[in-house]
């Protein structure tokens, strides 16, 4: 997946993609993303459900410092983005950008579904990453 923002985060960058997580082999605890490095041997790869409910949300109103942020925006072109957490029932609560929604529409507990979005990366050009949108 050369045009994905990161390896092992999404099963693909197609519309039916799923997030990849790790399930602890002994405790069953689910963590996203799937741990890397030596920790990985304790976690089996699982795919997360594509639908869940909004757990909390906010809006990023200022341009994050770079590094670590790698968006191409400048202070002049920056547009606030919505982000939050989505609870995937029985699995885990994931942090995510939220797209195709207005702040006034957001209500904790509302149904959300996974979306694949473009992210304009200042070193790599347009790459694909995940977000959630109202179902």
């Amino acid at each position: 997946m050369t045009n994905a923002l990161a390896d092992d985060v999404l099963t693909s960058v197609d519309t039916d993609a799923a997030l990849i997580a790790g399930r602890h082999i002994e405790t069953g605890k689910v963590v996203f993303p799937w741990p890397t490095g030596v920790e990985r041997r304790h976690f089996e790869r699982i795919e997360l459900t594509r639908t869940g409910t909004l757990w909390s949300w906010s809006v990023q109103r200022f341009l994050p410092k770079s590094p670590p942020y790698m968006g191409t925006e400048t202070i002049e072109t920056f547009k606030p983005y919505i982000f939050g957490y989505v609870e995937l029932p029985g699995q885990v609560i994931v942090e995510t950008r939220i797209v195709n929604a207005a702040e006034a529409d957001l209500k904790i507990g509302m149904d959300m579904t996974l979306a694949i979005i473009d992210f304009d990366h200042k070193e790599r050009g347009v790459v694909k990453t995940y977000a959630f949108e109202p179902a």
Binding site: A6, S58, F62, S66, P68, Y69, F83, L88, I108
Partner: protein, 381 residues
């Protein structure tokens, strides 16, 4: 072995151009030594910390090379709290009689920009715009407000009190009162928190001198402030913390609740017996949630308490009497120590215009830091 705080020193918080963070720390140590009448040669050990202004133990170059034990502490925003607790335990163990806890910092302007790798995270997390501490605070209070009926007005009420108290504090950064309308109309940073509800990274230094009961007697200290309870706790599975790509569906107690319960148990008193409290207020939502997490009220009761101004200096539970982080800024290494400094000053009755009028006998301090730990200290005179 009982442990007391016998000396307290501070370097003004805010921005001090042309003075390094380290020099602000040294200033605080000299101020604390002067407060006790001791000399640097008397100090047996030190725990010190700074997140962005150098190695704390370098300050011996300025203060004197005496061969003393100096251990650097680095515990995120709880660095100062961890330094004072380390000093407490060093004396409580019986190994030392007299020591120092010191913290200082000097951060660049604007938000912190941490490296994901330092937090065990892959680079993509920061690249797509999640590596901001302010986001965590906004997400936590947003959910809390909806679950427990806290209004945006309450967020502004906390900030109003912080600026009021800061104006009464000669060592604070923000020394101008601000009315509710101004606070409420400020630009949003991360909804529901706006510019005047957040603290900013800043500068400052604080030093505290701690002594054993034996040493207190030997030195003839008139107003020792006793450490009655102290605890540092880290997070449990299911706690919601800063920089978390995922959190567990099954919720658990926050590290603040654990530290608070442990400190109260050690002190043998309850929240209703505390006369003045300093609670971590990285932003006004944090102060609201920490009121409940530290046991001072039930979830949701803050709405009424804040409307009644219960946490103002002359209220039944004064909170953040020096203006807290909102008026003092957050120099990470010094911030937790500032809270304990304020409690010492309040218990001694030396807080001047901001002195709580209830003749306080007990004081409580709580600092919270990334990646999810809390330090609590309960003092008594």
């Amino acid at each position: 072995m009982d442990v007391a705080i016998i000396g307290a020193g501070i370097h003004k918080f805010g921005r001090t151009d042309g003075k390094s963070g380290l020099d602000q720390g040294v200033h605080a140590v000299r101020d604390a030594l002067q407060d006790t009448g001791l000399t640097w040669e008397d100090i047996q050990f030190a725990f010190g910390g700074s997140a962005a202004a150098g190695n704390a133990d370098i300050m011996v170059n300025s203060l004197g090379l005496t061969g003393m034990q100096f251990i650097n502490v680095n515990n995120g925003c709880a660095t100062g709290g961890s330094a004072v607790l380390s000093a407490y335990w060093a004396i409580k163990s019986g190994e030392f009689d007299l020591g120092l806890a010191v913290g200082f910092d000097k951060h660049p302007r604007g938000s912190f920009n941490p490296d994901p790798a330092d937090w065990g995270l892959d680079s993509w997390y920061g690249e797509q715009g999640f590596m901001l501490t302010t986001q965590f605070f906004a997400l936590k209070i947003q959910r809390y407000m909806e679950l427990h009926g806290i209004s945006s007005r309450s967020l502004a009420l906390v900030a109003e009190k912080s600026f009021h108290n800061g104006a009464l504090n000669e060592n604070a950064w923000r020394r101008t009162t601000m009315d509710l309308e101004t606070i409420e109309s400020a630009p949003m940073i991360n909804d529901p928190l706006n510019k005047y509800m957040f603290c900013s990274p800043g500068e400052g230094g604080v030093a505290l001198i701690l002594a054993s009961a034996k040493k207190v007697k030997e030195l003839g200290i008139e107003k020792p402030i006793w450490v009655k309870g102290a605890a540092v706790k880290t997070r449990l599975e299911g706690s919601f913390e800063v920089f978390s790509p995922s959190i567990q569906v099954e919720r658990s107690k926050a590290p603040t609740e654990l530290a608070s319960e442990a400190a109260f148990e050690m002190a043998g008193i309850g929240p209703d017996e505390i006369d003045v409290a300093q609670l971590q207020d990285t932003e006004s939502g944090a102060e609201i949630m920490h009121m409940a997490e530290n046991g001072f009220c039930k979830d949701g009761e803050q709405e009424k308490l804040l409307a009644e101004r219960a946490t103002w200096i002359d209220g039944p539970l004064p909170v953040n009497t020096d203006g807290g982080c909102i008026a003092n800024g957050e120099p990470i290494g010094a911030s937790g120590l500032r809270q304990v400094y304020e409690n010492v000053i309040q218990l001694r009755g030396q807080a001047g215009e901001r002195q709580v009028p209830n003749d306080p006998k007990t004081a409580y301090s709580h600092v919270y830091g990334a990646p999810g730990l809390s330090a609590v200290a309960i003092l008594e005179r």
